[in-house]
Symmetry: C2
Subunit: 335 residues, 2 copies
Amino acid sequence: MHNGVVTTSRPLPTMRDVAAHAGVSPMTVSRTLRGDPSVSADFRDRVLASVAALSYRTNDAARSLKAGRASGLIGLAVTNLGNPFYSEFALGAESEAADHGYRVLLGNTGEDLAREKLLVGDFASRRVQGIVVVPATATHDHLDPAVLDGMPVVLATSPPNGPGVDSVILDDFGATRAAVLSVIDEGHRRIAFLGLPEALWTGRERMRGYRAALADRGLPDDPALYSADAGIAELARLTDPPTAVFAANNRHTLAACRHVHESGRPLRIYGFDDVPSADLFQMPLTVVTYSPAEMGRAAAGLLIDRIAGSTAAEEPPRRIIVATRVKNYGIAAPA
Amino acid sequence: MHNGVVTTSRPLPTMRDVAAHAGVSPMTVSRTLRGDPSVSADFRDRVLASVAALSYRTNDAARSLKAGRASGLIGLAVTNLGNPFYSEFALGAESEAADHGYRVLLGNTGEDLAREKLLVGDFASRRVQGIVVVPATATHDHLDPAVLDGMPVVLATSPPNGPGVDSVILDDFGATRAAVLSVIDEGHRRIAFLGLPEALWTGRERMRGYRAALADRGLPDDPALYSADAGIAELARLTDPPTAVFAANNRHTLAACRHVHESGRPLRIYGFDDVPSADLFQMPLTVVTYSPAEMGRAAAGLLIDRIAGSTAAEEPPRRIIVATRVKNYGIAAPA
DNA sequence: CTGTTAGCGCCTTCAA
DNA sequence: TTGAAGGCGCTAACAG
């Protein structure tokens, strides 16, 4: 008794339907739904009854179509949601956005520039009011408001390379330098740097901080200690092996920890990024930590300031530097 | 020379603008942009030139306003993006959605039912084509397509409590039962269960699996071993303390691991959920693991099947049970 | 207080 | 192959 055609969900009721049901004009429905006080109690009740009867739902897409009206959307493009740092970042951004009545359109770039471009274009087509991006690469031209009809953009983890947009970053250089100075002051002279800088700003900055610290203390700059692409194992085989290592991110920190456990060799490990439950590793470990969620909040906050105009478009790019702190694991607190 | 009024980003160019610029009708622009082959090369080039000149961007909101047209959006409501499990879940869902041309509207419920309801309502107002929800509570009435104009819904981590919707879950009961049987077969007789069931389905199921395993082996059901709300410390103080513990989730697993490290007491730990870098804990640990990303993919997949009509609305609710597996840490592989 | 008119940006339909 | 008309759902701006 049915012809095989799949009926794709009947059309949703519109304001016109509600108006007809209530015996009023669409405008009265519109006004009622937006809480316009000029609607009489009588009409209001009738309208609300019809809304309930038809289980009507306002259509935000149609609403935001009206001239100049806003979509209430912001775009969020992260490199890898699977990484706890970016997911906490996303959480912070979503939270800040929600607090200000914005909804978040999410996109994962997978550290792929092409996908990032697609996402940004799609966001723009959906008329998001602004975009928060954790850039996949050092190419940021496509994130310039100039090519995005003036749509505000905020970069996170890296300052803009080209466009004059707001950003939320860490003091990667300073924090690394301070951490490495601390290793040196523990008495270490041969300190390796794990994790090549690649093309990313954070990596370059951390490497720069490492070398600055060595220079600060007059230690030799030995490329053998930081050019090992393949990792900690090679470093251990050097004739004059390192007694300590600074890992550029938590992936490398974990690799170093595993090496210590497996080889039994003593190696003092420092690293950038917190490591979950490192207190259970049973070994000394010092890391530079920060709050990704706070970065997310800050990024969304900057964006919303631009959107709301509380930061005028002409104002120069703002840059928020989120605080880092040093966390020690497996080290008894001083008595 | 300016009057203090903040000009909120000039209106974006429309098809009409492009048409005027190119000296053609808006329809020609529309056709060109959608790749309609019936547009002559001459006109097409003129249009594309104008599009570039004005940096025009199609307005997806306006497009999806046309009768019955789809928004290309799906809603994703998770309880806590800050938890790596849910963020990996989100990653999987976003990935599957993107593969099928859908964009994801993200919302974090913070395990708050009221917020979940708000989010779902907002999603509906934005005309998402379906919703994936990790429910915050056992109340699912508001997730019934019947009250959502037939909008498809997929639940993750918990089967629907009421509405007949699709879901993606784990075999919480079976996996826990098998794991606890394994602890028993290691020789343990006093096995605690950590993590009260609360109101959530997963907790109840895991608890049920634990008790089933005890029953299977004829061990006594001692409430003292699973009613300790405050945790492992209390359990250790029992006159006949447990020699092993099954932790209902990774938060409790970590608590148990800390207890072992701090107290030095031997305690065999089993748990539900993987624990990042547990191989570095230097202690035996067995966990029930699964892939949150796969759950996310599966959930989005089910949803998209409903949206596309490849699963008819009349078809009964589907339920995907994602595989779990057991992972051992800190235990030498058998020779 | 309520309704009418017109139009947001785009696309389906139909005519040229 | 191109264009004109009309409408998607909603809401400013203006009557009444």
